[in-house]
């Protein structure tokens, strides 16, 4: 009986398991996506169909909807594992908790973040986004949504043991999302005016690196509190 699981293997094992569960439970992938699409389509109905107005507010709408969709889907991140005791087993596993947590967040991002990025250009068409903003939209979503997942996971980890976590969760994590929102929308705006937006993108990248390093530890500590 020997133990020879490397960190990478542990990471991949958990990733594989989460993806497998999600594929057998498809609603989890489609519901947040559907929410994203619905919220975006409501805006033209609310503010009128003028292309100039829509293209002016498109970056903001798409990003705010992405923010909300990400938060909505995150609520489920640790819930099932918490309810059936798998989370305890993870906390007691000899593998470092931050690695396991990172793997779960990555699985979640693959399942909800990536579909969001794929469907965003379609919604941008509906909102008459400036044609030269598309690359910026995709790039900011690609770099920005993982930050949302990582920061949001902290809030989810803190509230997973509570019965009424929903509204509380939004209060905890939406303020933390503000910087991503600001830099992402301004990058898309800049791209629309044919201005360089690498600066904004670099800042979001820096946030991604920072949260990749720090968030897993905060998530791990929060989970230890929640399972207490």
């Amino acid at each position: 009986m020997k133990r020879g699981i490397s960190y990478t293997q542990a990471f991949l094992t958990l990733l594989q398991r989460d993806l497998k569960i999600a594929i057998r439970h498809r609603g989890d992938i489609f519901n947040p996506l559907l929410f994203f699409v619905l919220v975006v389509t409501l805006f033209p109905l609310g503010i009128g169909p003028e292309p100039q107005v829509l293209s002016r507010v498109a970056p903001g709408i798409i990003w705010v909807a992405a923010l909300l969709a990400s938060m909505l889907s995150l609520e489920r991140l640790f819930k099932a594992d918490f309810n059936d005791g798998s989370l305890e087993q993870m906390l007691l596993s000899p593998q470092p908790l931050p690695i396991l947590v990172l793997s779960k967040v990555l699985a979640h991002w693959i399942l909800t973040g990536v579909p969001l990025i794929l469907v965003a250009p379609l919604l941008a068409v509906l909102l008459h986004l400036e044609s030269n903003s598309y690359t910026a939209l995709i790039l900011t979503l690609t770099v920005g949504t993982p930050v949302l997942s990582l920061l949001g996971a902290i809030g989810v980890a803190l509230t997973v043991g509570l019965r009424k976590g929903g509204v509380l969760l939004s209060l905890l994590i939406l303020p933390l999302y503000i910087p991503v929102l600001i830099f992402a929308t301004s990058a898309i705006d800049a791209a629309g005016l044919n201005l360089p937006y690498t600066g904004q993108l670099a800042i979001i990248g820096a946030m991604l690196v920072g949260s990749l390093i720090m968030a897993p530890f905060a998530i791990g500590a929060s989970l230890r509190v929640s399972t207490n």
Partner: protein, 216 residues
């Protein structure tokens, strides 16, 4: 449990105090658990049995006091302690979306093993033929057995089991008891709670820690 000369202390509790919702569950509780012990934690509902198990496992933090693994605080040597610890709670960490085989594979790999024959292990807990059935479709007893299968492939010395016999039939309980005895004879220890009577593990072998329901 005194006839063993070469007793090694595996877990030591130092003056544990546990407070839940302003009620003191236990105060200044100290004990030692040696290699070779089978310890049953006894007490009425609400006395804090599960809380004590979770504190020993390091899942909950006591209000005061510490748990030592051999002779180090478990917060100082979490990785070593986790390597030597097998904890199964009320909820066993079995995913209903996965098959019995996938569940066992995942749980064992999470604990770091990669040299096991999961079909063989599932056969040992009488789940032969159910290997590829979704855990959600299994009965409560089979569900529980999926989790317990890990006990047959582990080199952890400290087993902490919260109600391991729940939903297990008589024959299964006996098999588990045999396993516990074998485990303690090879230098491990078992800390558990149960409401069921055991046939093989008699009172001479069993050590008990009693918790009373306290009002204050």
């Amino acid at each position: 449990m005194t006839d063993n000369n070469q007793q090694q202390v595996l877990v030591r509790a130092n003056e544990l105090t546990c407070i839940r919702e302003d009620r003191i569950l236990f105060d200044q509780l100290s004990f030692e658990i040696n290699a070779g012990d089978i310890v049953q934690i006894e007490g009425p509902n609400g006395a804090g049995k599960t809380s004590l198990l979770r504190i020993i496992a390091g899942l909950s933090r006591p209000y005061a006091g510490e748990i030592q693994y051999i002779d180090t605080d478990i917060n100082q040597c979490r990785d070593e302690f986790n390597e030597d610890l097998l904890y199964l709670g009320h909820l066993a960490g079995v995913k209903s979306e996965l098959t019995a085989n996938e569940n066992l594979n995942f749980n064992l790999r999470l604990s770091g093993y990669n040299d096991f024959d999961s079909y063989d292990l599932l056969a040992k807990v009488n789940l032969g033929g159910f290997e590829e059935a979704l855990a959600g479709h299994l009965s409560a007893g089979q569900h529980r057995r999926t989790a317990l299968a890990r006990l047959w492939h582990t080199n952890c010395r400290i087993w902490i089991l919260d109600e391991p016999f729940t939903a297990i039939d008589k024959k299964g309980v006996e098999e588990l008891e045999q396993l516990f005895i074998k485990h303690t004879q090879s230098g491990g220890c078992v800390i558990m709670t149960t409401h069921q009577d055991m046939s093989l593990i008699t009172d001479e072998v069993l050590r008990k820690i009693k918790l009373d329901y306290r009002f204050v």
